[in-house]
Structure formats: C-alpha cells, structure tokens
C-alpha cells in the first residue's frame, strides 16, 4: 500500500464519471429515475471524495515531488512525437479539481430535482457524467494533447447537452453553433500545439516549460511576432473559442437553450473557464511575450465591457446571466493578461461559486414560474420563494463585488493588478466601469424578478418553492459564495493571502505579496477598494431607482436613445453580421461555384466533352464506310499514295524520330 493510493491511481477520478455515463447511457433507458440518480450522483460524488483524498495526499507531498506527474500509458506515438495518457496534479490543478468535482457534484444533485419531470432523464445524466469525465481529463492532463482531449470532449458534451431538447430546432442549432465555433478556436489551438512541438519537440507541460527555461528564451517585447508570441496567440485563439471571448463569444448566449443545470455547470462554472485555465497553465509561455499578454488583456477587457453592455437590456433571465458570464470571463482574461494569474484563477473559483448559484437559483425561479424565463412577466416573487430569493441575493451581492463576499476580493485583486501594470490604467478604467454595469444589471435582474408587483397572471402560474434536492445545492453554493473569498483575502483585510501564496510555486511569488510591504501600496489598495465598492453601490442604486422607484424610466430611456437601445437589444447584430459575412457566402460559393460550377460544370463537363468528342469522331470514321465499293477502291488508292509518299518523301533516316530515350 503506497503512501498516497489515490495519487498513484489518479485515473480513478475521471474514470468514475465515465463509468457512470456509460452505465446510464447503455442501460439506463428503462431504469427508474432513482436508479439513474444513484449511478450519476454516486459516481460524481465518489470522484469528488476521491478528489478530496487526492488533495489531502497532495498536501503531504514533499515540494520536490510537485507537480506530481503520473504516466499511465502512451496514447499516440509517431516518430519523435509521443502523447501519453499522463495525469498530473499541482496547485493549479488542485483548485480546478475541487471546483469541478465539488460544483459538479452539487449540480448533479440539483439536477435530480430539476430534471425530474423531463423525458430522456438517463440521457441527460449520461451526458452530464460524460462532461465531468472530459472536464477532469482537461484539468488533470499533463500534456497539451491530452488536455486537448478534454478540451474537445467538453465541447462534445456541451453540444449534446445544449441540444438536449433536440425536438426544438433552436436547441439543436445552438448545439451545432457551439461545437462549430469551438472548432474554429480549436483550429488555432492545434496550430499552437504544432508550433510548440516543432519548437520544443515535446508537448508535455513539464518538459516543455523546462525546455523553455533551458533554452533561455528572452521575453519578446511588444510588437515582435516571434515564435512564442505566435504560439501564445494561437493558444489564446482556442481559449477565446472555449471561453466565449470576442470574437467567438456568440455561441454562449445561444447555449442557454440547454437545461438550466447545464448552463450552470458547463456554461458558467467549469467548461467556459477552461480557456482561462489553459492561459494560466501556459503562463510560462505567455509571460515570455508582452504582445500576447497585451492581446489577452485587451480582448478580455473589451469582452467584459461589451458583454456587460448587452446584459443591460436583456429580458430573458438566463441570457442576462449568460452575458454576465461572458463579461466575468473577460475579467479573468484581463487578470491573466495583466499577469495577475492567481487573481484570474481566484476569480475563476469564486465566479464558479456565485455564477453557478445564480444559474441554479434562476433555474429554481424558472421552475417556480413553470418554465417562464422572461423577467418582464415576473416580479414580486421575493415573498413566494424566499429561499431562492435569499440565495440569489447573496450571489448577486457577490458578483456585484460587495464586500465581504467572494466576488469582491477576486474582482478587487484583478483591478489592482490591472492598475499596477504599466500602461494598465485604461484597462483598469474599463474594468471599473464594467464593475458598475455588472452590479447595475444584476440588481436590475433581482428587482425585476423578485420585487415590484407581479406582472404574471396568478391564476395560471402558481408559484411554488423548489424541492430540497434543488435548494440544498443552492444553500451550499451560497455559503461558498460568502466565505469563498476569504481564502484569498489579502492581509489588508486581515486575511493571509493564502490563495496567492498557495499558487506561488506555479505563478511565481504572487503580485500581491511583495506589494504588501510598503505603505504606498497599502494606501493605493485602500483607495482602489473604495472606488470599486463605490462603483458597485452606484450600480445598485441606479438599478433601484430605475426599476423600483421610477419603473417607467427604462422605457423612456429606451425611447430617448432608441438606436443605442436597439443595438444593445440585438447584441450589436453580431450574429447577423456573421451570417451575412461568412455563412451565407460560404454556402453560396460551395453550392453554385464549387459544386455546380467546378464539379458538375468544368470537370465533369470536360470529361463528358471528351467522351462525346470521341464518339463524334467515331461517327465520322463510320461515314468513311459508305458501303460503296468504288469509294473503297479510292480509299485503297489514297492509302497507296500515302504510303508511297511517306516512303519516298520522308526526310532522312527516320527511326530515330518519335523516340524518347
């Protein structure tokens, strides 16, 4: 019995969900829900426990054994290329592992309640477990190829889950869209891997990063497009696809077609953060290219603001959350971009808590409203579903960045990082503005949904609180959203800045750490924190004023700035733009030019043309065959003359001609 049984058989953690998925998928069709639950929730629960155990063992490992890499078997091998089924665990992985398994497990539990009355129950859980499997592969992978497996795999499961209600065209469209947009990102990701392999001859994290250190790559300054920059940008292209950043964010809002738990798990808590994870994982490379970092920061920042603006006017409760997710992901990238990786990961974690909570709560609301998702037909629910209301309020406070909840610390850390970075002030400003917008639209959501007078007809819709299977997870996540922040609370708030220290071995001794030392920094932090809180409060007040005090204001405002409003409402017409600029032309060209034109027209045309031509000549030859003996005789004479003239008048010694040596 080895010292750390689970670490030695790390594969057990991802394998459990896979088994669950297989079992449900193959045999679950005729099983009662209870059985399916046991399998699904059981398997994920077990893998959660396994993860906890693994983490416990991890903490006992001596520093020199970290990261702990375990090679299981070689998956692909050709020439000098080897991609193994190697799992590794280090601080970063630990964070992700806990988030994924924990939140995932909670959401499984929640789903048992939420999906209880849906068809294809077993199918749903099979997919959900499958997702868990791939997500765990993603975070545990010890090389880019295996990571890519998880990467594509989660894409697949999201495709399946978004299209879960496959009878609805919109659903299957959304699924397809998600997969294909992700593929576009993966295109870049693959090329990035290729370039890395070509440069360093390996794709294993440890060896690769080690080689980077070995070969002493100097940091490529801004504007230089060296190998490193290009590799990083290509990887980041993948990240933008997976984590719904500009310009590939379009799939995420549509992904809300899927069941709410899915939105919570995949499209808020875990999968969409994979991009951030990859960037953080490859920080060694990124930090060697200022350009790449800058791009990441700018894109993240822009996305954060952009999505937030759209979020302002959405009326579908889930879509608001979707855009907020996009926006928050932007934050994380901003963090990575400014080099505050640990802050990014920290926000990733907290966001997982409160955003999952938001979605689940929203789900509970929808559940209560009998499937209604439009906030304009809600209102005044606070009294009827107190429990849901409570949890959701906590989550909102958290995301809006009201201390001392989780969101505050993470967001504060990011803004701090942005501010500190040289030339980062514009980023900081935009970030701050975004924070204001965030708190505004979040509270808008709260007020529209739970306050004011009921805007739905009470006879048909009889609002009811959700079952405990759903409320339990809410409670758990609420708790996490409250206390989750303190693991990273800087000394400033009497915390130990544990998180940054914990991740220090990976990201280098954290940004915050040395900043603590002197006074100026401390004052700066105070001010920044104050500003942040202020902006959050402004947003809150604004929302309160517009939607509770003067409910007619929004309408007026919308009228007064109609164009802006329309633009936001239609999400800047990006989807339409893509359709008009890419999809339609592509289809047209393929159909009219390539298929009908080249294939049928030119190529087959030529071939058939030759055939017909030959046949035509054949007819000609036949007509020499007039059946008239006299003409035959003439033919013979002609032949005689031809032969004689060839033989007599052909120049020189002939045989040498017409030969190819």
């Amino acid at each position: 019995m080895t010292a750390h049984p689970i670490l030695d058989s790390l594969w057990i953690i991802p394998l459990l969900p896979l088994l669950g998925s297989a079992t449900n998928g193959l045999f679950g069709k005729n099983w009662p829900n209870a059985t399916v639950n046991t399998v699904a929730v059981g398997s994920t629960g077990l893998s959660f426990l396994a993860a906890l155990e693994a983490v416990r063992e991890f903490f006992q490992l001596p520093a020199d054994q970290i990261p702990f890499v375990k090679a299981f078997f070689t998956w692909i091998e050709a020439g000098k290329f080897r991609a193994g089924f190697d799992l590794q665990i280090d601080q970063l992985t630990v964070v992700m592992l806990l988030v994924v398994t924990g939140v995932g497990w909670l959401i499984h539990i929640y789903s048992t309640g939420y999906m209880a009355h849906e068809g294809g129950y077993y199918r749903f859980f099979s997919y959900l477990n499958l997702f868990m499997f791939f997500m765990l592969i993603l975070v545990l992978a010890a090389n880019y190829v295996l990571l890519f497996v998880g990467w594509e795999g989660v894409g697949l499961s999201s495709y399946l889950l978004i299209g879960f209600y496959f009878l609805k065209k919109s659903a299957s469209d959304a699924g397809k869209k998600a997969f294909i947009v992700n593929r576009i990102g993966d295109f870049g990701f693959m090329l990035g891997m290729f370039l890395l392999f070509r440069t360093f001859g390996t794709l294993d994290f440890q060896t690769l990063f080690h080689n980077v250190a070995q070969q002493g790559w100097h940091r490529e300054p801004w504007g230089v497009f060296g190998t490193m920059t290009i590799a990083c940008l290509l990887l980041f292209m993948g990240a933008t696809g997976k984590s719904a950043q500009l310009p590939l964010y379009v799939w995420l809002p549509d992904a809300m077609e899927g069941p709410t738990p899915v939105s919570a798990l995949i499209h808020a808590a875990t999968m969409v953060t994979a991009g951030v994870y990859v960037v953080a994982r490859s920080h060694v490379l990124f930090s060697l290219s200022e350009t790449a970092l800058a791009v990441v920061a700018v894109v993240g920042c822009a996305t954060a603001f952009f999505a937030a603006t759209i979020g302002l006017v959405q009326t579908d409760i889930k879509r608001v959350l979707a855009y907020s997710t996009v926006s928050q992901l932007g934050y994380m990238f901003l963090a990575c971009g400014v080099g505050a990786f640990s802050a990014g990961i920290f926000h990733l974690m907290t966001h997982a808590f409160f955003k999952a909570l938001l979605f689940l709560a929203a789900g509970s609301v929808i559940h209560a409203m009998g499937g209604e998702q439009d906030m304009r037909r809600m209102g005044g629910l606070s009294g009827k579903i107190k429990y849901t209301y409570g949890t959701m309020l906590i989550a909102t406070l958290a995301i809006a960045g009201i201390p001392p909840l989780a969101g505050f610390f993470s967001k504060d850390a990011i803004l701090l990082g942005a501010f500190k970075m040289e030339g980062g002030h514009p980023l900081y400003a935009v970030g701050l503005l975004t924070a204001l917008l965030t708190s505004f639209y979040m509270f808008r959501l709260i007020f529209l949904t739970f306050h004011g007078k009921a805007r739905y007809d009470e006879h048909h819709v009889h609002v009811h609180e959700s079952p405990w299977s759903m409320l339990g997870p809410l409670a758990a996540l609420a708790a996490l959203s409250v206390i989750g922040g303190w693991v990273a609370a800087p000394a400033l708030w009497g915390g130990t800045d544990f998180f940054a220290k914990f991740l220090a071995p990976i990201f280098g001794s954290g940004e915050g750490a040395e900043a603590l030392s002197e006074m100026a920094a401390r004052n700066l932090e105070w001010t920044l924190a104050g500003v942040a809180i202020a902006s959050a409060l402004i947003g809150l007040v604004l929302a309160w004023w517009m939607y509770l005090v003067r409910p007619d204001q929004p309408g007026k405002l919308a009228k007064s700035l109609r164009p802006a409003y329309k633009t936001l409402l239609n999400k800047y017409w990006v989807d339409e733009l893509y359709a008009a600029a890419v999809v339609k032309p592509l289809l047209w060209i393929s159909r009219q030019v390539l298929w009908q034109g080249v294939d049928v027209g030119i190529i087959d045309g030529t071939v058939n043309g030759i055939a017909h031509g030959t046949a035509g000549v054949g007819d000609g030859v036949r007509y020499a065959q007039s059946g008239n003996t006299r003409s035959y005789a003439v033919w013979v004479v002609i032949g005689a003359i031809v032969i004689l003239s060839i033989i007599f008048f052909w120049p020189g010694s002939h045989a040498t001609m017409g030969m190819v040596r």
Partner: protein
C-alpha cells in the same frame, strides 16, 4: 503457425476459392449462399489476423515474403510480401469484407450468388494488390479487382448504375494503362519487375534515371494512383460510383479501394522516384489541400446524404495524400493511420446511410428529419461514427488527422494551416446533416413508424464502434507496427533528399541534420531546405524557431 509458410498465398486465394465454391452452390438456395459467403469472409478475417503474429513487429523490411518464378521472359515472379504498411490494410480489407457480407444479408435479393462471388473476388484482388511485391503482379491484381467492383456497382446499384460503373472503369483504366506503360518502361531500364530489387538498384545508384524519364515515370504511376484516391481534379467518378453502388459496394469502395491509391503512392511513387516526388511535392500537396477544403465545402451543400459522405471521403483522403507528400515520419505514419481510420468510419457511415436507404429508399436529406425519435439507437450510432469521422479525440479519426497535420506542420506550416481548416469544415457538414436528418420533429408521415436497428444491424454497428473506440485509444498498437516500415520508405527517399537540400540551400550542416536526425529542432530546418527547393520564395520564415535563425 497458421497455414505454414504460405499464409500470404492463402490470404490471396482463399476468397477466390470461396467464390468458386459459391459458384457450385445452387443459385436459388440463398440462405446457404449467404452462410457460405459469411463463413469464407470470417475465416479469411481470422486468417488475416494471423499476420499479426508474424516476425518482429515492424521489422523494417518485409516481415514475410513468398517467392516463385512465374514467367520466364520477361522475368515476372510471383512475389508476395507484407510489411507494416500493408499489414493492417489487409486486415482492414478482410474485416470490411466480412462486414459487407453481413450488411448485404437482407438488402440483396436478386442474383445473390453472383453478388457474393463478386464480393469475394474483389477481396482477393484487393489483398493481392496490397501483398504483391512484383510490379507486374501488382498490376495484374490491380486490374483484376476492377471488374468485380464494376459489376457490384453495375448490377446491384441504383438508377444510374451503368453510367457510374462505366465511368468508374474508364477513369481507372485510363490511369492504369499509363501505369502499365510506366511499369514496362521501368522494366526496360532495370530489367526486372521485382520491387525490392528495383529499390535496391535505385538506392545503390546502380540505375540512374534521367530527370525527364523519372518525371514521366512518376507521373505515369502517380496519375493512376491519384485517380484511385481520388485527388482533387480527378475525383468526379467517386460521387457517382458511391451514390449508385449498393451499400456493400460503397463500403468496399470507400473503405478499401481508395486506399489502394494512397498505398501505391507510398509503395511506388515515393521510394522509386524520390527526386520527382520532391519536385512534385508542392503541387501535389496543393491539390491535396484543395481537395480537403473543396471536398468539405461541396459535401456541405449536398442534398443527397450518400453523396455527402462520398465528398467527405475526397476531403479525408486529401489529408492522407498531404501527409504522404510532406515526407515526414510523423505525417506519413499519420497518413497510414488515417487510411485505416477512414476505412472504418466512412465504411460505417455508408452502412448507416444504407440502413436508412433500406427503410426509406431515398438518400435525399430533405426526405428525412427527426429520425432520432423513431430510431434512437441508429441515431446514437450515427452520431458516434460521425464524431469519429470529424476527428474527435479518443476516436479513430483524430489520431490520423492530428499526426498528419502535426507532421506536415514540421515541414510546411502553411500547408498544415490550410489543411486544418478542413477540421472545422468537417464538423460543419457532418453536424449540419446530422441535425437535418435526426433532430427536430418528425416531418414526414412515413418516417414516424420506421423500425430501429435490427439485431443484425446492431451487431454490425456495435462491432464497428468498438473498433473505432479501440483505434482511438490504442493507436500505438498499430503505429508501433507501422513505424519501421514508414521509416524505411522515408529512408529510401532521404539520400536524394539530402542531395536536394544541399543543392538548394547550400547549408550542408542543416541538410545533413535534416536527413540524419529527426529531432524537431532540426525538423524545422530540413523542411526549410526542402521548401527552398520546392519554391524558394516561401514566406513565413518568421515563425521558424530561434534555434534556426
């Protein structure tokens, strides 16, 4: 050991014997016809597995050879041999034949006897092509296998079957006759038809082909293979052939026959005419890339499901050709792997399409829709196979594509970049067609009551799915066996590769590295030599790693 020292001959002729046995059977007794055919096919498959026990896995030469003089003048010998490249292709053939027999259990009613006879003859011919090491023998089998295939299309096909069959034969024949001229010309220069012997002479420089001659020879061979693959401008026979062919025919056609082309390129074009191969690498790769994108785009807009799959083959085979003509160990191994993977998954796709056809007698996508409701199992299988075909990791499609792209990238990043778009497009056409066929409400009355997969079909599909999964995870089992042989092919080119590199770049060190070591640091450099050779004005040196600047 199975069948003593003559396993190869047994493999080649056992199906033919089975076919003769079938001929003896009474034509109307269909049950026994089917059973006998199935027995023969299965036995053949099991026999072919015997190859795996041969020799040291991936011994660079031929693991197992058989030799006998056949014709005195010109000296033509009966020379069979199997190496890592042909090994799995043979197994693939036997496997798919067995599957096809099973697949046409019900769907073939009239002239059952002839059908299975043709199928088995086809198998014999194809295996012969894969195993023969005597060019002449190779050509003989190459032509022989043509006829049964034409009959399969022409007799048991659909409406325009005759047109398709004739088109198929004429296309192939055009190429193969020129190849015959090439073979004879080569014989005229070397005095033998024996492939290893000719390799030896060319390697040792005993025979030196004039550039012009080598170019013509290369083209003569390449054209035949390119038509078979089919490479971009020569592909138009494929859609017709596929759409008209019966399911089993399509399976064999896509699964095995197309591979003959790529196999031929690896076996003949590259080792025999390295210089010409290098000279033509760029144009060929261009065609391959065009094929990848073009095939995918055309597939995207096909209203006919089977045609869609056919064009997807064009796209996938483009990857293989690209991998071969990147001249990288990795990419070439990827190419070999992709051949196998494509054989399985596209074969499976055709089976599925055939099953739909059996139920509704149409290939029009618009006729379907919402089939997931009446036939969930079929839908599940279809999705699984489609995913493997679009190269999802852990399924067979991924390994090949990834290796090809990776290897190609080492040599020519632009090629790889262009080709990689095919990965996006494949997702587009497969998922879109899948959505149109299986998702949504059932629109047509007829489709409401379609039966789900029968037990037999379920077994077929399950088997294939298992293989798909296994190939996706246990790829090393195959790649380790192909590695040495591929390396051998590459080694046979390297000599000239080095010369070319020297001539073009004049950086001996780099060129030498290019040949000797496969270390990726130099990997980047050899291609530069190569690229400089192909077209000196190649952009994109910027991304070359520092190590080389």
């Amino acid at each position: 050991m199975l069948a003593g020292g003559h396993l190869l001959s047994v493999l080649v002729f056992f199906p033919a014997v089975g076919a003769l046995a079938l001929l003896i059977l009474r034509g109307d007794d269909q049950v026994w016809l089917r059973r006998l055919a199935m027995t023969v096919a299965t036995a053949e498959f099991i026999l072919s597995l015997g190859l795996l026990w041969q020799g040291p896995a991936g011994a660079s030469g031929y693991q197992r050879e058989e030799f006998a003089r056949w014709i005195v003048q010109p000296p033509i010998s009966y020379h069979l041999g199997v190496d890592g490249i042909s090994l799995f292709l043979v197994i693939l053939t036997t496997f798919l034949t067995a599957i096809s027999v099973l697949a046409s259990w019900k769907s073939i009613e009239h002239r059952v006897k002839e059908f299975f006879v043709m199928l088995l003859m086809l198998e014999a011919g194809v295996i012969g092509v894969f195993l023969s090491l005597d060019m002449f023998l190779f050509f003989v089998f190459w032509e022989v296998m043509l006829i049964p295939m034409a009959f399969l299309i022409g007799i048991w096909g659909h409406e325009r079957r005759v047109y398709a069959a004739v088109k198929f034969v004429l296309y192939t024949m055009t190429g193969s006759i020129l190849m015959l001229v090439g073979i004879i010309w080569l014989y005229d220069k070397t005095g033998t038809f024996d492939l290893p012997a000719i390799h030896g002479m060319l390697q040792s420089g005993a025979i030196v082909l004039s550039p012009q001659a080598e170019m013509l020879l290369f083209l003569a061979f390449f054209l035949a293979f390119a038509i078979k693959v089919p490479l971009f401008p020569l592909h138009t026979w494929l859609p017709d052939a596929h759409v008209e062919a019966p399911t089993a025919g399509s399976v064999m056609l896509a699964g095995v026959l197309l591979k003959l082309g790529t196999y031929g390129m690896m076996r003949f074009c590259l080792p025999l005419f390295p210089d010409a191969a290098h000279r033509f690498a760029a144009p060929v790769a261009m065609l391959a890339i065009i094929g990848i994108i073009y095939g995918a785009l055309v597939a995207l807009v096909q209203p006919n499901l089977k045609k869609l799959v056919a064009y997807s083959s064009v796209s996938h085979l483009g990857f293989v050709v690209l991998g071969i003509f990147a001249f990288q160990q990795i990419s070439m191994q990827g190419a070999v792997y992709q051949m196998l993977a494509h054989g399985i998954s596209t074969g499976a796709l055709f089976l599925l399409v055939g099953m739909l056809y059996d139920r509704r007698h149409t290939f029009e996508i618009s006729e379907y829709g919402g089939l997931a409701t009446p036939m969930p199992k079929l839908a599940a299988f279809f999705l699984f196979i489609a995913l493997s075909s679009l190269g999802l990791p852990l399924l067979n499609g991924f390994v090949g594509e990834y290796l090809i792209l990776l290897g190609t990238y080492l040599a020519h990043w632009q090629w790889s970049a262009w080709a990689a778009t095919g990965v996006i497009l494949s997702a587009c056409y497969l998922l879109w067609s899948y959505q149109r066929v299986f998702f949504g409400e059932v629109t047509r009355e007829k489709n409401k009551s379609l039966p789900d997969v029968s037990r037999r079909e379920q077994w077929i599909l399950a088997t294939l799915s298992v293989v798909v999964l296994w190939m996706g995870i246990g790829s090393t089992y195959i790649t380790r066996r192909t590695e040495a042989s591929v390396g051998h092919v590459k080694a046979q080119m390297s000599r000239d590769w080095a010369r070319e590199a020297l001539r073009s770049t004049g950086t001996p060190a780099c060129a030498a590295e290019a040949v000797t070591s496969l270390n990726p640091r130099e990997q980047g450099c050899a291609p530069r030599a190569l690229r400089a050779m192909v077209d000196p004005a190649q952009p994109g040196m910027a991304v070359l790693p520092k190590g080389m600047r």
